[in-house]
């Protein structure tokens, strides 16, 4: 059981880290750009909110396999498939949780408005400098909410992992799958214990994001 919890936390932590690195610049671009591609891309990012995880999982299973588009790339690294591996789960989780990172951060960036950034520009700050010393600190509430939500969303992920994981202990057997197995094998006591833990965890996470939103004045996701 502890192996499962540890693996789940590792997956969620790595996913969140990647999402901060990828999601914040993406959210910045979505918030600031006037390109005609902004809304189509934003819609694409938001897809996992609407799509059933089984749809995403099914496409990932096909895409990651030896007949999928990634196959030549995988072969260079001596792999046949990304399914059934921790790396595969990380990729799936990043895609699956992307909107939970991008949406709050984009909102936070939009809320800053042009004022502070124009002020930074008149003080001769480079765009990069303005981003790191003005925009990012002002949007910290959004970034923090996004990170917490992404982390929690990954911990609670089920459908995608079910489709591509293969239930390998220490590699792809995460918490939600373990709970599912307990229910399936009629070990309801153990299922209760883990489920109750998840319930408390989810409550704390949602409460935390709400408190952050109130303190920093960013709109709630």
């Amino acid at each position: 059981m502890w192996q499962t919890i540890w693996l789940t936390l590792q997956l969620a932590a790595l996913t969140t880290l990647i999402l901060v690195v990828v999601g914040v610049p993406l959210a910045w671009w979505l918030a600031r750009s006037r390109s005609m591609w902004v809304e189509p891309l934003a819609a694409l990012v938001a897809l996992p909110v609407v799509l059933p995880p089984t749809v995403l999982g099914f496409y990932l299973l096909v895409a990651m396999g030896p007949n999928g588009p990634l196959a030549p790339l995988l072969q260079m690294f001596g792999m046949r498939t990304l399914a059934f591996s921790f790396e595969g789960l990380v990729i799936g989780s990043v895609i699956y949780s992307l909107p939970f990172m991008v949406q709050p951060v984009r909102n936070a960036f939009q809320l800053i408005g042009d004022g502070p950034l124009e002020a930074a520009a008149t003080l001769r700050a480079s765009p990069l400098d303005a981003f790191f010393s003005v925009a990012a600190p002002l949007a910290r509430g959004g970034i923090l909410s996004g990170a917490i939500l992404s982390f929690a969303h990954t911990v609670g992920e089920f459908g995608v992992v079910l489709m591509i994981g293969g239930n390998i202990p220490g590699e792809t057997k995460v918490l939600s799958i373990t709970i599912f197995d307990y229910v399936e094998t009629m070990q309801w006591g153990a299922a209760h214990a883990l489920s109750a833990g998840m319930l408390v965890f989810a409550f704390v996470v949602i409460l935390a994001t709400m408190l952050i939103a109130r303190r920093t004045g960013t709109p709630q996701p």
Partner: protein, 264 residues
């Protein structure tokens, strides 16, 4: 159907939806009394056969049968929580017995409707040889099996590997599907080079390669059916339950790669 699209003028624009619903209900009330309807919980591996049996049953009677598919574990959990199923077609004998013990089944109705057969299958032609020697050679990275704790076909796979003395060397390469359906997906998509699936799943597959696991290597996969208390007074449920034993149904079941008690 026209009532849904053309509410009469007396229906105001904002009340259109409610009017349409009311009209639909009145239309239903004036229709002749419908035949009985039964809900059947079906183990996922029996999906195709069950659908075919229902199609035949519905052409011969005026009853309607609705199928709900799931893993036997899920279906069992749902039944204990009061799910409105009339019949359970399980992938094993354990859960129907458990349902009996829980007092949720009609006594003395349980019977074995199908006996499952295990195959080692690959989507690649020529990958699995006729003697299953590929397991010995071990030139594969992933061997898909169904979760042995929940799926009888998974347990049978483990049993067979142990009987062959190949369990220790293949276990590190196991990938587990939560159900036999998912195990099939792993192999069909090529993510796992081969896997243990139900013969019933590959009867329609062209291409690929398979080895029928000798039946002396694993305990028979008895798939039991039971009439649930919910369906005890349901004409459709009783008729369909009896139909499962008919020669026509047995014929469909054997066509899908199962054995039966009566028609081996």
């Amino acid at each position: 159907m026209s009532v849904f699209f053309w509410p009469p003028a007396t229906c105001g624009f904002y009340r259109r939806y409610y009017c349409a619903v009311a009209l639909a209900f009145s239309a239903m009330a004036s229709a002749p009394v419908m035949a009985a309807e039964a809900s059947v919980a079906v183990a996922a591996n029996f999906t195709a056969a069950a659908q075919e049996i229902v199609d035949l049953f519905q052409t011969q009677t005026s009853h309607v049968v609705n199928l709900s598919f799931g893993s036997s574990g899920q279906l069992y959990a749902q039944i204990t929580q009061g799910a409105p199923f009339d019949i359970l077609l399980s992938a094993d004998a354990i859960r129907p017995k458990q349902v009996e013990r829980d007092g949720l089944a009609v006594p003395d109705t349980r019977f074995t409707y199908a006996i499952g057969k295990l195959v080692l299958w690959s989507a690649k032609p020529g990958f699995v040889d006729a003697q299953g020697g590929v397991l010995q050679q071990g030139n594969f990275t992933h061997l898909a099996i169904a979760n042995p704790a929940t799926a009888p076909y998974g347990a049978a796979a483990i049993e067979s590997l142990k009987a062959l003395g190949l369990y220790e060397q293949t276990a590190p390469r196991f990938v587990q599907g939560e159900s036999i359906t998912q195990t099939f997906q792993f192999v069909a998509s090529g993510n796992a080079q081969l896997g243990f699936v139900a013969l019933s799943q590959i009867t329609d597959e062209t291409g690929g390669s398979h080895w029928k696991v000798p039946e002396n290597l694993y305990a028979p996969i008895l798939q039991d059916a039971v009439l649930l208390k919910t369906g005890a007074q349901n004409e459709a449920a009783k008729a369909f339950f009896a139909f499962l034993k008919s020669p026509q149904a047995v014929h469909i079941i054997t066509q899908h790669g199962y054995a039966t008690v009566t028609g081996k």
